[in-house]
Structures are given as structure tokens and as C-alpha cells.
């Protein structure tokens, strides 16, 4: 804009700022719907709880269920699996967490974890590896009988999904 002698603002400054402000708000307002549509939609969210009947699962058996499109491992652990998981000193773990923190009190034999390797998302194979738990075929991570990572490259333990016991033989995930 050409230099003018008058100090203070004139009509052109007002229009310039007002147009800019409306334009910026308008652009920002339109960006949000375009980003937000990327999120999981209502039909995906509607599938966000799953009920699981535990009674047919034998001792020592790992059964896979689906929750939110992801595999959930439900492991009916033997007493020795639980003992083994609890005997490990925490400082030997990559992602230190006690076995007690990963199960519901009073239901210690039931381990419920999301069956997705925390490295790059493959599904680990049950009853394999050297730690009485899972082995991931993609990049060789191993998990123990508490679903905790024992051999990398996975950085974290298998995640525990939000779930509650509605009775002794039934859980609701989500």
C-alpha cells in the first residue's frame, strides 16, 4: 500500500483485516470437517463392545475373539503359567509391569490381551517362543504368559483392553 501522511487506520485497513480474518476463520472452519472425517465413524464405534463367554475355554487354552476388528486373546492360564509370570523380576522386563496389574483381582488365571504385536501390528502365534506365551512371526518379538514383551523389537507389552467380569464366566470387552 502506498505511504500516506495520515496516521491511524482508514477504511481500506479495516476491509483488509476484516477480509483476512473472515478468510482465515473460514479456512480453519473448513479444515476441521475434512480432517475429522478420517476418524472412526459411528458404524465402527457401534461395534465397540463385545461379550465373551469364558466357560468353553479349557485350562491352558488360548481363544481368539474379535473386538473393534482386532483379535483379542483370552488365555485360561494354568497355575504354573501364573507362577512363572509372577516369578520374573521386574528389572528383567523391557516394559516393566507386574502380572497382577495385567489381570483382574480374583480372576488371576484369565489373561485378556489385544492380540496385536506392539511392533508393527502382526498377530503373534500362541504357545510359541521361549517364554510360555506368544511369538510374532513378522519380526521375531516374544511375549511371556502375561503377554509382556521379553524379546524385541516390540517396545511394549501386549495391550490389555478395557473389560469387566459381568459374572465368573462372562466378560464384556470395551
Amino acid at each position: 500500500m502506498a505511504h500516506t501522511e495520515t496516521s491511524g487506520t482508514n477504511r481500506r485497513d479495516f476491509l483488509y483485516i476484516a477480509t483476512g480474518a473472515v478468510g482465515a476463520v473460514g479456512v480453519a472452519g473448513m479444515i476441521w470437517p475434512f480432517v475429522s472425517q478420517l476418524q472412526p465413524d459411528a458404524s465402527v464405534l457401534a461395534l465397540s463392545t463385545t461379550e465373551v463367554d469364558l466357560s468353553p475355554i479349557q485350562e491352558g487354552q488360548i481363544v481368539t475373539f474379535m473386538w473393534r476388528g482386532k483379535p483379542i486373546f483370552v488365555f485360561n492360564r494354568l497355575a504354573k503359567d501364573v507362577e512363572l509370570a509372577r516369578a520374573v523380576p521386574l528389572n528383567q522386563l523391557i516394559d516393566p509391569q507386574t502380572d497382577q496389574d495385567r489381570v483382574k483381582a480374583g480372576h488371576d488365571k484369565w489373561l485378556v490381551v489385544i492380540g496385536i504385536c506392539t511392533h508393527l501390528g502382526c498377530v503373534p502365534l500362541g504357545h510359541q517362543g521361549n517364554y510360555d506365551g506368544w511369538f510374532c512371526p513378522c519380526h521375531g518379538s516374544q511375549y511371556d504368559s502375561s503377554g509382556r514383551v521379553r524379546v524385541g523389537p516390540a517396545p511394549l507389552n501386549l495391550a490389555v483392553p478395557p473389560y469387566t467380569f459381568v459374572s465368573d464366566s462372562k466378560i464384556v470387552i470395551g
Partner: protein, 423 residues
């Protein structure tokens, strides 16, 4: 480049049109009278071959999209429908699937050509960076295209690659859920990948136009790496010389391409992708398509999730900085005795990484990948900067014409003396 806007519209209509939209003049100056260095060899035909492959992929892809449906429960069956029911559907799909591999074969030759002859050096830095951008877009397009048949490798490849973004601290998980449109790879992911797979080739075409614009503005590099000094002595017009040479290169490349389409159409594919996607069972041995293998080996060689992801992306990003990492003023490896040897070592390392990427991540393979990954970065970050300081290059020819005469002087003189013997 100077001296090539000689277009004279012939006839009244042509003159009328040219004075309103000078597109014929633009075409003429870029594809007919454009001066090309006279010493270009067949490695310089891959730009034209790549342009052709982009056309082949867009054409076959648009036609395939007319028969395909991006909906997770039926996408696998739709691809088999194309293979069995659609007239010549098998041909269209094999052209498109093998075309992706051919595209990458050509782009790797094109990139290594640029590395050998120093085509990234001033004043061609922007030209080179545009090429790196095209390469990145190609990788994104190819990856998303591979997801569309919704087989086991599609599904698990998509899972592993999208999970790379979960390595980003704090926001990683949210970004991955936004990529997926859910809590795992699923129908929303397939749909958005299809939309982007259709979009990105047109973005590639846009960047290709910029790439060619930059090329024609600064002029082509050439095997001797010396600039054109005299248009009359050092260059020949694009048409017919480069046009015919490029078309010959394309025809030979199409023969090679046809062998794959008609004799070994699944050679580059993975048998697991003929099993429908199953979110509950990961194939025992996941490998990406061959053209991603060197980067996959780099990813797996680092025993830390974020570190591996960063190393993999850095391996590509480092290419964009190459014009400044290579400190030598001499372009062509013909005149750089040491660089020439390091170039070949690097080529072997790159192929070696590709081999390691295809092998299971265990034992000696992991150790070998670590050594080669380290060398990959040492080449760019240590060897190239130092080489420019310590290497003693061979004397450069005074001009392209001098270089050509020095190599073929005897023949040229003989040819000039007896022109009638030259068919």
C-alpha cells in the same frame, strides 16, 4: 536453453491459434527443436520409458477401476471377477500389476544413472529433488495399489506399513487410527486407499511436468558431465535424434515387460496374496513388494521401533540432500576414478539390502543388514563429502564435441570422408 524457439506456424488457422494459445510453439520447442547433448547413451532413454509407464499405469488403472469395487467383503472376489469374467480382464490386471514392477525397475535404473553421471549437481538440484518427490509419490501409490486386491499380503502389508506411523511419539496412535478410519485396517482403510491410489498418479503427472520443465530449463546432463558450450557443435535436435532413440528404448523395454505379462505374470507377486485377507492370521513370513525390500531391510536392522522407522525414512530423505553432500565439482563418474568404484560398491550394497529384506529377520541376516545399513548411510554422509576433497579427478574434455571426437574421432573422420557408405 538457448536457441530452440524457432517454431513458425504454417497456415492461416495455425497462425490464428498460435497467437491466442502458443501451445504448438511450446510443444515444438520442448519435443522437436530442443537441443540434446549428442553424447547421450541408452541410459538416457529411461526418462521417456518412465513417462510411457506412467501412461500405461494410468490407462490400465482407469479401466480396471471400472470393474473393481472397494468394499472389504467383496474386493478380493472383484479382482477374481476381473481375472475370470471381464473380457481381457486378466491382461489388464497383469499389465497393471507387472507395470508397477516395471515402473520401479525403470525408476531405479534412472536414479542410478543420475548417481553415476552426477546429474544432481548444480544447476540441477531442483530437478533432482523433484525426482525424489516423484519417487516418494510412486512408493505411496504402489503401496496403496497393492492393498486393493485385499489378499493376505495386502492386508498385512497395510497393517505393518500404517503401523510405522505409530512409532511417532505422543500422536502416533491417533494418526494411525485416522489412517485406518477404525481400530485396525478395515473397510474404511480400503476405501480411502482406493481414492488416494486413483488420485496420486495424477499428482505424479503434475510433478513430472515440473521435472521436465526444470530439465528443459537447465538442459540435460550427459555422460561426460560437461555443460553444452555450443548448441551447434555439442547438441542435436530432440526430433528426430532423441525421439527415435527414446522410442527404440521404449520398444525394447516393452518386449521385456511383455515377457513378464505373458509368460511369468505372477513372478513378482506373492502367492499369499491369492488368499483372502484374514485379520486373525498373519502369514508366517511377511515381505513387501520387491521394490521396497532395501528399505524394509533398513527398517528391520534397527532393534528399536522408532529408530527403525526413522532410519527407513532417512534412507529416502538423504537422497534429497545429495546435491550438497557430494562435494566434488566433477559430475560424471567417467572422470572420477574413486567415485566410480564407490558407486559400484553402493550399487552392490543396495541390491544386498534388497536380498536381506526378503529373508527372515534372524541370525546372520540381521547382522548383515546392520552392516549394509551402516554402509548405506556412510556412503552418503561420509564417503561422498570426503571424496570431493581427496579425489584427484581425470582431466575433463573441453566440450561435449571434443569428448565425442576423442572417443569416435577415427570413425567420424572416416564417415565424413566416405558419406556414401553410411546407409
Amino acid at each position: 536453453m538457448e536457441g530452440h524457439s524457432t517454431y513458425q506456424p504454417q497456415g492461416k488457422i495455425a497462425r490464428w491459434f498460435e497467437s491466442r494459445l502458443p501451445i504448438m510453439g511450446l510443444m515444438h520447442s520442448s519435443a522437436v527443436s530442443y537441443p540434446t547433448p549428442k553424447n547421450l547413451n541408452y541410459w538416457y532413454t529411461f526418462g521417456a520409458i518412465l513417462t510411457m509407464m506412467l501412461g500405461v499405469q494410468i490407462l490400465s488403472g482407469v479401466v480396471l477401476a471400472m470393474h473393481y469395487t472397494a468394499y472389504a467383503p467383496i474386493s478380493f472376489a472383484r479382482v477374481e471377477h476381473i481375472m475370470r469374467d471381464v473380457s481381457f480382464g486378466w491382461l489388464l490386471r497383469y499389465i497393471h500389476a507387472n507395470g508397477a514392477s516395471m515402473f520401479f525397475i525403470a525408476v531405479y535404473i534412472h536414479i542410478f544413472r543420475g548417481l553415476y553421471y552426477g546429474s544432481y549437481k548444480a544447476p540441477r538440484e531442483v530437478l533432482w529433488i523433484l525426482g525424489v518427490i516423484i519417487y516418494l509419490l510412486m512408493m505411496a501409490t504402489a503401496f496403496m495399489g497393492y492393498v486393493l486386491p485385499w489378499g493376505q499380503m495386502s492386508y498385512w502389508g497395510a497393517t505393518v506399513i500404517t503401523n510405522l506411523f505409530s512409532a511417532i511419539p505422543v500422536v502416533g496412535t491417533v494418526i494411525v487410527e485416522w489412517l485406518w478410519g477404525g481400530y485396525s485396517v478395515g473397510d474404511p482403510t480400503l476405501n480411502r486407499f482406493f481414492a488416494l491410489h486413483y488420485l496420486l498418479p495424477f499428482m505424479i503427472a503434475g510433478v513430472v511436468i515440473l521435472h521436465i520443465w526444470a530439465l528443459h530449463h537447465v538442459g540435460q546432463n550427459n555422460p561426460d558431465g560437461v555443460e553444452v558450450k555450443s548448441v551447434a557443435k555439442d547438441t542435436v535436435p530432440f526430433t528426430p535424434y532423441a525421439t527415435v532413440k527414446d522410442i527404440f528404448g521404449m520398444v525394447v523395454f516393452l518386449l521385456f515387460f511383455s515377457y513378464f505379462i505373458f509368460y511369468i505374470p505372477n513372478y513378482m507377486g506373492h502367492p499369499d496374496n491369492y488368499i483372502p485377507a484374514n485379520p486373525l492370521s498373519t502369514p508366517a513370513h511377511i515381505v513387501p513388494e520387491w521394490y521396497f525390500l532395501p528399505f524394509y531391510a533398513i527398517l528391520r536392522s534397527i532393534p528399536d521401533k522408532l529408530g527403525g522407522v526413522l532410519a527407513m525414512f532417512s534412507a529416502i530423505a538423504v537422497l534429497a540432500f545429495l546435491p550438497w553432500l557430494d562435494t566434488s565439482k566433477v559430475r560424471s563418474a567417467r572422470y572420477r576414478p574413486l567415485y566410480r568404484q564407490f558407486f559400484w560398491i553402493f550399487a552392490v550394497v543396495a541390491v544386498g539390502l534388497g536380498y536381506l529384506g526378503s529373508q527372515p529377520a534372524e541370525g546372520g541376516f540381521v547382522i548383515a543388514s546392520r552392516i549394509l545399513t551402516a554402509y548405506y548411510f556412510i556412503h552418503f554422509l561420509i564417503i561422498l563429502p570426503l571424496l570431493g576433497l581427496f579425489e584427484r579427478p581425470k582431466p575433463l574434455p573441453a566440450s561435449i564435441a571434443d569428448a565425442v571426437l576423442a572417443r569416435n574421432g577415427a570413425t567420424v573422420v572416416a564417415g565424413a570422408a566416405a558419406p556414401q557408405t553410411k546407409g
